[in-house]
Symmetry: C2
Subunit: 159 residues, 2 copies
DNA sequence: AGTATTTCCTTGACGAAGCAAATTAATTCG
DNA sequence: CGAATTAATTTGCTTCGTCAAGGAAATACT
């Protein structure tokens, strides 16, 4: 009672994709760790902050964008705060929340790290796209990301 | 001194890809966990065993194929052994090594799990490929997997 | 106003997986 | 053959990130 079997190419894609999911995050993380002594999640956190107006975001929003649980984000932010890359202060309009603000040092750290990260991404990903159309690929990847049904990790379900 | 900046589509691909690396493994794992009470790495381990002649493999070989460290594989195999999905016995030709053998029960478990996993992969991945050519995609993914420079996690460097 | 509910974040406990060191077996060398 | 070296796993310890529970502020209800 197979739900429609796979043909040759599909099987190849499935295998390669399966492996990629395991290996690619490790490679990108290892590259960043090696060249910049920084983890991929730290990088992503700083990047998201840097891309928001004012470089300030609520914890929840940040966790959401980074696809992490609230608790995971609390821990990561604590670490980045101790490194001086960002600061956390109670939100004025809502005393329950916290505003996370990218510091100048954090911004500097990001500027310092991104060329290496970009090089890593280029070498590990872009250099292998071959004939694939970038627009089609972007659309496909975005579709996958939205395939929702939420893994139920990721922020939404920490509580 | 940017190492060649990204154009629009490239940026979109990079962002989507970055997110996918974080989210997709969680989604596939959560799907399998929900429908089959099994983790993705358990599944992959059983699958690799099932695809080898005789359904036997050395620990190191298995770790290598699953892109896990030796230690991680030792623990995973211990768990699967306690579940009766596989058995481990000293290798005859080399007393240092162990042969891991998929049991009939393990094989059955895999047969039971794969339709759900396939459905999950189909829904999360294949349903979003749009115009992408499967052959080109497979080639690209394989290229990325080989982008080597080993993350240095993954088996090779556990020691 | 006073209590109940909900929201936002933090903390505690835990599991998965990695690295480094330890273990035991095979091999190489003198 | 016995010591030194190399190989295949395992065990100890640490880190990352999740879930479950808790605390404090805001909101809703009476």
């Amino acid at each position: 009672m197979q739900p429609t079997p796979l043909n040759g190419s599909e099987l190849a894609v499935m295998r390669a994709f399966g492996r990629l999911m395991v290996v690619m995050p490790k490679m990108l993380d290892a590259d960043l760790q090696r060249t910049q002594r920084m983890s991929l999640s730290e990088y992503q956190t700083l990047r998201h902050l840097s891309e928001t107006p004012g470089n300030v975001m609520r914890m929840s929003e940040l966790a959401h964008r980074c696809d992490m649980s609230f608790s995971g984000m609390t821990r990561l932010v604590s670490k980045l705060e101790s490194l001086g890359h960002l600061s956390r202060r109670r939100c004025e309009s809502d005393g329950r929340g916290f505003d996370v603000q990218l510091t100048e040092a954090g911004f500097e750290r990001l500027r310092e790290a991104w060329p290496d990260h970009l090089e890593s991404v280029r070498r590990r990903i872009f250099d292998h796209l071959g004939r694939l159309d970038l627009g089609d690929l972007a659309a496909a990847l975005e579709g996958m990301n939205e395939s929702g049904g939420q893994a139920c990790h990721s922020a939404a379900c920490d509580k």
